[in-house]
Symmetry: C2
Subunit: 209 residues, 2 copies
């Protein structure tokens, strides 16, 4: 990746900042949701939404009637923010507390996907990210459903990742204090699937086990 | 709460929108992190950060040197977004897939906390939210640490919650299809604390058990 835009150079803790494509992709591929921000008359709006990365773009979808979608499909500047939280970092002082996280920020503009085949592909990528290997099992998407849904793509040439990992970094003079310090891991897990009333007699498909 | 601002009336699914203070507080109190957005020359920026609600305001903190903090402490408009994800909603068609979530959006402006006592209280509320009951156990915060940290408060008079819960809502004509539908619960859990090398011989305090 080329020299980062000045917007991507942090004022704090530059050593926690990464610009490598692979690092950014690994975070984007693990996170299911992002927050997309845009501004109208310098007033910011932000919306959490599901997304998928495919090759060098990320894709989101929404109803053609959504105000949010209609604003950003114009191609105005957006900021896309993603965060995975790995642990609470518990130090001996409140001041040295931290969080182990992996985050990405992207500055981009929407490209509206007009081609029905590409739209359908984007819905397939998104569905298979949220529920792996599920697309081919589902009732096929109709042309009408494709028309009722907008798909937007965002290049992420202008992106950076920020991460913290490891143990607390207490002040030298605090290290001998008899105060416990360490990590509290945070994990987001998928639980056991719960069938609705139409599915009580339908075997749970392989991809959900 | 009074009539919501037009910015808070959604274009889609108004039945999923709530303005009650208690509903909003319950989501704010469960979430550890929010995403704060602001705009400069109509260019949006967003940053994930930890926060705490106390009475009718939410509080964040950051280094006095942080570019983000220095921008928003001016009192420019911000949008604060919080999302808790409860389940993936797996329908018989991709189109009817959804997410069970509880989200809050707040439009506000920062008030910089100048009073050292209130700042210290805000750090206590924040620390005790992230790691319950931990503040009194930690090495006390020094005056210098209080000075090096900015605390910002945000009223949330202009806020709404949006939620979805329950099973998939498949199209009537899909209900008989032999395709499994239901929920995949998502849970964020705290794991077993991991001591750092300074704490191997220090008993895990009661509040971390």
């Amino acid at each position: 990746m080329s020299t980062p835009s000045p917007y991507l150079v942090p004022s704090r803790l530059p050593k926690r900042t990464y610009y490598e494509h692979e690092t950014i992709c690994s975070i984007l591929d693990e996170a299911l949701f992002c927050t997309i921000s845009y501004a109208v008359d310098n007033r910011p709006f932000s919306i959490p939404t599901a997304f998928v990365r495919y090759e060098d773009k990320i894709y989101i979808h929404g109803s053609v009637g959504s105000h949010f979608i209609r604003e950003i499909e114009k191609g105005i500047p957006v900021c896309i923010s993603v965060m995975l939280t790995d642990a609470l970092v518990v130090a001996k002082s409140a001041f040295s507390h931290s969080v182990n996280y992996r985050s990405v920020v992207i500055f981009s503009k929407a490209e509206k996907i007009e081609d029905a085949g590409t739209k359908r592909a984007a819905f397939e990528w998104l569905t298979n990210k949220i529920v792996p290997d599920s697309w081919d099992y589902l009732r096929p998407m109709t042309d009408s459903e494709v028309r009722k849904t907008t798909a937007l793509a965002f290049a992420f040439d202008e992106a950076s990742a920020k991460m913290r990992s490891g143990m607390p970094k207490d002040e030298a003079e605090d290290l001998e204090l008899p105060i416990w310090s360490g990590l509290i891991p945070l994990r987001t897990e998928r639980g056991i699937p719960v069938a609705d009333e139409t599915s009580i007699n339908i075997p749970l498909p392989e991809h959900l086990r």
